[in-house]
């Protein structure tokens, strides 16, 4: 089993942003047929989606989220020694998006910066990598960015994917905890035999200029992905709890990748999880890939933490393209910053904080 226990770090804050443009799926009935749209909205649970403007990318969203977080934490850019960017929508094949963001944030040359090419499972993976770097020594503060713009993956002719996906960026600040602190648990898994279940076949170096333009868009085997999810996620939850020697009731929340309401409801029932501990945010931010996990963390958990007035222990769950799936049990202490906002369409320079959309401790 691929489970790990890691201490020696704490999550100092999580910042998420969504693009300012918001679409109402029900307004797309003329294009896709009102009945079909209503059916998809009813099943998938996505009414509104935030989508990037032309020229706006994951790098822009994550840079904006990182600026906001550094400002909220009072962290000087030259104190960051590691920058990880988890994305499947990079600005370029080369250089890495992490290096582009490194330049935008004005980080020091002593800061390691690299990309991780994972989608829906990316957030727990990114946390694991940041935690291992901190545990390994030599690092004090690390930024882990997770951003994706899956609305740019979809063919406008494919309503099943177009109506599902939104875009988001996030930044998570982690710092070393020399005294040890809370011991987190991670589970990381892959099944490359299912690589074709969710794939953009063209545009990479296997087929740089595909003859069929549809190969430049994502193709999803909905039934295949659903079967993968209901087969892999329930044991992932059970095994992660068992390794951490915890019961279902010991965690304050289960933060799922916001894949699809029908799938999530099925998982909740199958796993016997209390519904009030599984927040949903996809109704108005859609399935934004890996960043749907931190978006749910900031949007749903800030309120919950305020009401409980104590540290929160949560399980984070990512699953999808790869096929890849991962879990993390982490603690958010009372001082950890949780913030969510809207990002302007122009590439971010100096972000403007919107008090209407911010939620901080």
């Amino acid at each position: 089993m691929s489970f790990s226990r890691l201490d020696g770090f704490r999550i100092a804050g999580v910042s998420t942003v969504v693009p300012s443009a918001q679409l109402d799926n029900l307004a797309l009935g003329d294009r896709y047929g009102a009945d079909d749209v209503r059916k998809v909205v009813s099943m998938a649970g996505v009414r509104h989606r935030h989508v990037v403007a032309e020229g706006q990318t994951s790098v822009d969203l994550c840079t904006d989220a990182a600026h906001r977080l550094l400002e909220a934490l009072g962290w000087a850019p030259d104190t960051i020694t590691g920058l990880i960017m988890v994305t499947q929508s990079p600005d370029h094949f080369l250089p890495s998006s992490a290096c582009v963001v490194h330049g935008r944030l004005g980080l020091a040359v002593g800061c390691a910066a690299f990309d991780v090419g994972l989608g829906c499972s990316g957030y727990p993976y990114g946390l694991y990598l940041a935690a291992t770097m901190l545990k390994g020594g030599g690092h004090q503060r690390i930024l882990m960015l997770n951003g994706d713009t899956p609305s740019r993956f979809t063919s406008p002719d494919d309503h099943a994917t177009t109506l599902l996906f939104g875009d988001a960026g996030s930044a998570t600040a982690l710092e070393a905890e020399p005294a040890g602190g809370f011991a987190s648990h991670f589970g990381l898994f892959s099944d490359g035999a299912g690589a074709e279940a969710l794939i953009m076949k063209g545009g990479g170096f296997r087929d740089r200029f595909p003859a069929d333009p549809r190969d430049l868009y994502v193709r999803m085997d909905g039934a295949g992905v659903f079967n993968f999810t209901i087969k892999r996620v329930p044991p992932l939850i059970q095994d992660t709890l068992a390794v951490a020697e915890l019961g279902v009731a010991d965690l304050d929340a289960y933060i799922f990748h916001q894949s699809n309401r029908f799938i999530m409801k099925h998982l909740i029932k199958k796993c016997g999880l209390p519904e009030d501990r599984v927040p949903f945010t996809l109704e108005d931010t859609g399935n934004c890939g890996g960043p749907s996990v931190p978006v749910t963390l900031t949007r749903a958990l800030a309120e919950r933490r305020g009401a409980l007035a104590r540290d929160l222990r949560v399980m984070l769950l990512g699953y999808g393209v790869g096929l890849s799936w991962a879990s993390a049990i982490v603690q958010l202490d009372a001082q950890a910053v949780l913030m969510h906002g809207v990002s302007a369409a122009a590439p971010s320079t100096a972000p403007t904080l919107d008090p209407q959309t911010e939620s901080q401790p």
């Binding site: 059916k39 998809v40 099943m43 099943a160 085997d221 909905g222 039934a223 295949g224 659903f226 079967n227 209901i230 087969k231 029908f262 099925h266 029932k269 199958k270």
Partner: protein, 84 residues
């Protein structure tokens, strides 16, 4: 093999519910094409039902090959989920 079994009438009712189709329109010889709700979403509903009720996996490939209600009944019988 499934630990839980249902009879043919219960199986037809399960399919009618999954496909959002009147029960009278779901007979063993009913073709998939004549059930509007047996589309990609209906197929997901059926996969979910079989997982939840019987713990059996209906793969995407087998699901796509099903052309009639009888094929679903045959699948249930093969997995020990259909009583005589």
């Amino acid at each position: 093999m499934s630990q839980h079994r249902i009879n043919v009438d219960e199986a037809l009712a399960m399919m009618a519910d999954a496909f959002n189709e009147p029960l009278a329109n779901v007979r063993p010889d009913t073709a998939r094409d004549s059930i509007p709700g047996w589309d990609s979403m209906g197929a997901l509903m059926l996969i979910a039902e079989l997982d939840e009720r019987f713990g059996i996996e209906l793969s995407a490939e087998v699901s796509r090959q099903m052309r009639s209600v009888q094929h679903v009944l045959d699948f249930l019988a093969q997995h020990g989920a259909l009583s005589a």
